[in-house]
Amino acid sequence: MRGAWVEPGPADETLTRDEAKGVMRRLWGMLRPYRGQTILATLVLVGQTVCLLAGPFLLSIGIDKGIDPGARSRPDVAVLNTVAAIYLAAALLSWVLGRLVIQRVARIGETFLRDLRSRVFRHLLRLGLDFFEREQTGRLVSRMTADIDALQDLVSQGLVAFVQNGLIFVGAIIFMVILSWQLALCTLVIVPPVIFASRWFRRESNRAYLEVRDRIATNLATLQEGLAGVRVVQAFARERAWTRRFHETNEAQFDANLETVRISVRYFPFIEFIGVAGFAVIIGVGGLFVDRGWLQIGILAAFILYLNNLFEPIQQLSQLYDTVQKAGAALHKLFELLDTKSAITERTGAVDLPDHGAFEVDDISFAYLGDEYVLRDVSLSIAAGERLALVGPTGAGKSTLAKLLVRFYDPRGGTIRYGGVDLRDATLDSLRKRIVVVPQEGFLFAGTIRENIRIGRPDASDDDVAAAIEAVGLTDRFASLPEGLETEVRERGSRLSGGERQLVSLVRAALADPEVLVLDEATSNLDPGTEVAVERALEKLMQDRTVVVVAHRLSTAARCDRIAVVDDGHLAELGTHEDLLAQGGRYERLFSAWTSGVAMGRTA
């Protein structure tokens, strides 16, 4: 379930006037495919509002022409019946049109949202890894959830009401002016104070509710800690102190809540009084007008009903204003995201990478940010079918080099070629097909093991999947699972152990069947039961492929054809295990420290 209580909503941000204009313009552009329908829906809405507002107007005619036409003529039952029938028809028509509007607007709005979701997500997927490393997962997820949900709220609850209330307000004034502009002028005196009061109320209660939200979050945090840490609290006999502590945050929540009540207690009585005052104005001033013969009693009756149509919309619009504003802010953020350009794109006229080939890393430099270079002047060639280990301390740049080899990033200077083609000139499809990276931890998506394997090659048949499993020698292992390949891995693979996840990840790579494999070796240990299985599967996977391993264990490095020692962004040493040991440099020092560590660990 979503919606934790402390989750910060997309609230409290407001747009400047210019930003709001920009958002509106762009929204109108995006609505292009729906424009015809939007205009139609608006027309229906106008029609419905007219039907709704026709009621009091008809009432005044019914009273003044039918029931009580004054001293000069007699009541006319036929007029009364006709007007009542029209009133009924208008009410029914308004009902029918109302249903139509809600359905129409929902269809337009929800379809628009569906397309927006799809569009934003596809855009996200196109963005380079630099973007994802810069932004927090939570914030990106909230673009797709909280922000679009704010729009969803507007579509499902606010939009029709917002437009309709505006129409009713304006329409009521028009009808009042038509009936009697003099009385209308007098009645409308009450509108400005209501608008001001409502704006004050919205501002004040927003401020107060933000405070309430903070205090609730604090109070719940205390509550949660008091519960999660209850054993520690009891172990040190601190129950009373914690109860006191909770008392503070709990009372703070009470105070903040009461403040919102105080604000509403100033607003609502004022509004109710103004309502009565408006009523009194209509009766008093209207009565005077009737006495002068300027208007008839029926018009008074209509005005009393229209009074409601002035009040309700102001109050509702004031409340809906927030929904609209939140939606505007959300749209603004979404547009910003859509404007973010991807750093890694396919050039026009890109060619497919050749099937085989060697890597040529030629004098590359790279910085994630500004001038903080993590790689400088690295040159290196990797022959087809060779196994190369990258070793070096954390932060030396070995993982970065691996990311450049698979074009998660482009180098700032220099080139990387595969089979003679610059990676930047290659089609992304062929690149991802030839060069596959297997990350440290087997990341699994919700779904079955089979679905997870198929990520490697979506069009693969079941036989292909079986063949890939066989290729890394894991057929028995997966068959032994109670539900076999149909085992649900649940969220983030919580049901499978780390080692098993890694196995799925290896099969995935085997299914993709790339020419080049870039492995980021796991730093943490696997469960002893699967460690061996992973080693074996990995060995099979590496056969007949070019392999680059970011090695954390020197035992892995020692098994490779050549070892590249990366230190402080430079390629410090390069050669076979024996060569480097003989050379007596950094690698030799690392290796001897490691071997003595092994000895220590055994005796510990």
């Binding site: 029931i67 009541p75 359905q103 969803q152 172990a235 009194a280 070096g392 698979v406 991802r432 990840s505």
Partner: protein, 599 residues
């Protein structure tokens, strides 16, 4: 069924108890509500009088008089609406706050076994959602009372003026109620389904972004995009379902009162023509009918809310009705002032109704002695550690400290006398200083530093940007498992207990650093009876004696060397522990850890 009824009754009683202390506010609110009703209904009636007695008869003086009365009544109405609103919310907020306080205090006292069963999330829901349900119903109660009264008065007035009109209106209005009821009944599952689909959708987004390297590495963007489209389509379907229900309901809410207005015009019009009704009364009817809409909807809301709230109240009552199993006996004494000798005599224990995990345990810890408990996972070591501070009471036998049964000692004195470091480290989201000084918040900083030094934590704490004032936890600095454990040890040291329990307290500490704190721990253990639960031989070596446990009993006792030599079982347990050790900040089982760069 009966138990549910009883639970609901208990829920109502709970609500009543929460409201009772605020009697004066309740009375004030109800009186204000009644006055408000009177004023509200009076306004259209005064208008009717102004029309019929003043305007129609051409008597401006009468009209003005009625208008002035209307304004005066408007002032009363405004004051009363403010009063009733304030009192309703105040009562409800007070009830909510007090109830939550009561619940928290109670939960803090409840025994471990209760907390073992309950999930934090569930308890949070009790203290949050359930209490809010109660708050809402308490708000609605006085407001609805006044609104219901309004409804009754309006209907009475309608009947007084025109029975026929009153019957017509009465026939229509319940339709509104029925429609609202059916709507909320139908929309709930649809909204729930929509929420679920939205949850699935955000699931896809979340995992795609978390696993973006895999997605990009395999070029699987299209697969994920399709998965999202699928979820977005489901959301669309559900959202349109909800829209359809709204389309059926919302326009109806406008239609029904309008039909009543049409009836008033037509039927009332005929009555006026026939001289049975005055035209001002006809006008007033319009306003009166509109007054019925809110009370009817509020009544529906209240009924639905009351059912939810009494359920929530029942659940809260259930917790409050649970008594703590661990309490002070009458005449309980203070911690004995002896050397700290601990005896387990024929102790048996099982969790809840489960099987005995400890059976016939006999064990003596001499005052000031350090004893290590060693045994395979699930042999009952941790249970022994948790029986001593009375987190649970033994089911058989007894535990004595300096000859006094621990059940004869006041719980707080016993626990302050025993310092424990739990196997699962829990630290609070406070500063490091507050965490270490948990037992003695007033402890001077020097004592905090000393405790940290003895726990081998001073080094890394001082290296932190804010030192001892560094806030840790969810919204603060995150520490490694080993660092957290060392703070927990410092916390126990600062409490300066008579008896110290270290339950696997250094399991996550990097073995290369453990030797640093070992000598310090030796200092701490001096003069205290200490119970150590450990797997690593180096930690076990801290103890004067080692007790090998198995199947809830003591299997062998001796020094580490003696047991190594004499007990096959002991050697097995140690070897197994070595292989099973969980990964930690130093990965004790990672043979390469010491030497590999970047590990």
């Amino acid at each position: 069924m009966d138990s549910e009824r009883a639970a609901r009754r208990a829920g109502w009683r709970l609500m009543y108890e929460a409201i009772r202390p605020q009697r004066s506010w309740v009375i004030g609110g109800v009186v204000a509500g009644f006055l408000w009703t009177g004023a509200k209904v009076a306004v259209p009636l005064l208008a009717a009088a102004a029309i019929d007695e003043g305007i129609v008869k051409g008597d401006t003086g009468v009209t003005v008089r009625f208008v002035l009365i209307m304004l005066a009544v408007g002032v009363v109405q405004a004051i009363c609406t403010g009063l009733r609103r304030y009192s309703a919310f105040r009562i409800a907020l007070r009830a909510e706050t007090n109830l939550r306080q009561r619940l928290f205090a109670h939960l803090q006292r409840l025994h471990f076994a209760f907390h073992d069963e309950a999930q934090t999330g569930q308890l949070m829901a009790r203290a949050n959602t359930d209490i809010q349900q109660i708050e809402t119903v308490v708000i609605l109660l006085p407001l609805t009372a006044a609104s219901t009264l309004t409804m009754a008065v309006v209907i009475g007035v309608l009947f007084y003026y025109s029975t026929g009109l009153a019957l017509m209106v009465l026939a229509l209005m319940p339709l509104l109620q029925i429609a609202a009821h059916r709507f909320s009944h139908k929309i709930q599952p649809v909204n729930l389904a929509l929420q679920e689909e939205l949850g699935d959708l955000s699931g896809v987004v979340e995992e795609t972004i978390s696993g973006i390297r895999v997605v990009k590495g395999f070029g699987a963007e299209k697969v994920q995009a399709k998965a999202l489209d699928h979820e977005a389509d489901s959301v669309l379907t559900r959202a349109l379902d909800a829209a359809k229900l709204r389309a059926n309901f919302l326009p109806l809410v406008d239609l029904i009162p309008t039909l009543a207005l049409v009836a008033i015009l037509w039927y009332g019009g005929h009555q006026v023509i026939d001289g049975k009704l005055q035209v001002g009364e006809l006008v007033a009817f319009n306003s009166l009918v509109l007054m019925l809409i809110w009370p009817l909807r509020m009544l529906g809301m209240l009924l639905a809310q009351a059912s939810r709230a009494s359920g929530g109240g029942g659940r809260i009552h259930e917790i409050l009705a649970t008594d703590s199993a661990i309490t002070d006996r009458p005449g309980a004494v203070s911690m004995p002032d002896g050397p700290g000798e601990i005896e387990f005599v024929g102790v048996g224990f099982g969790y809840g109704t489960g099987p005995r995990v400890i059976e016939g345990l006999d064990l003596t810890l001499r005052g000031g002695e350090a004893v290590a408990l060693v045994g395979a996972t699930g042999c009952g070591k941790t249970t022994v550690a948790r029986l001593l501070p009375r987190f649970y009471d033994v089911t058989a036998g007894q535990i004595l400290i300096d000859g006094v049964d621990i059940r004869e000692i006041t719980v707080s004195k016993l626990r302050r006398g025993i310092g424990i470091v739990f196997d699962d480290t829990f630290l609070f989201s406070d500063s490091i200083r507050e965490n270490i000084a948990f037992a003695e918040p007033e402890a001077p900083i020097d004592e905090v530093r000393r405790a940290a030094r003895l726990a081998g934590a001073d080094g890394f704490i001082e290296a932190l940007p804010d030192g001892y004032d560094t806030v840790i936890g969810e919204h603060g600095y995150s520490l490694s498992g080993g660092q957290r454990q060392r703070i927990a040890i410092a916390r126990a040291i600062l409490a300066d207990p008579h008896v110290l329990i270290l339950d696997d307290a250094t399991s996550a500490v990097d073995p290369t650093k453990e030797h640093e704190i070992r000598s310090a721990l030796k200092e701490v253990m001096g003069g205290r009876t200490t119970l150590i639960i450990a797997h690593r031989p180096a930690t076990i070596a801290l103890a004067d004696r080692v007790v090998l446990m198995g199947e809830g009993r003591v299997l062998a006792v001796g020094t580490h060397q003696e047991l190594l030599a004499s007990s096959e079982r002991y050697r097995e347990v140690l070897a197994h522990a070595e292989a099973d050790a969980p990964p930690s900040d130093g990965s004790p089982s990672d043979v390469g850890a010491a030497g590999v760069p970047g590990a």
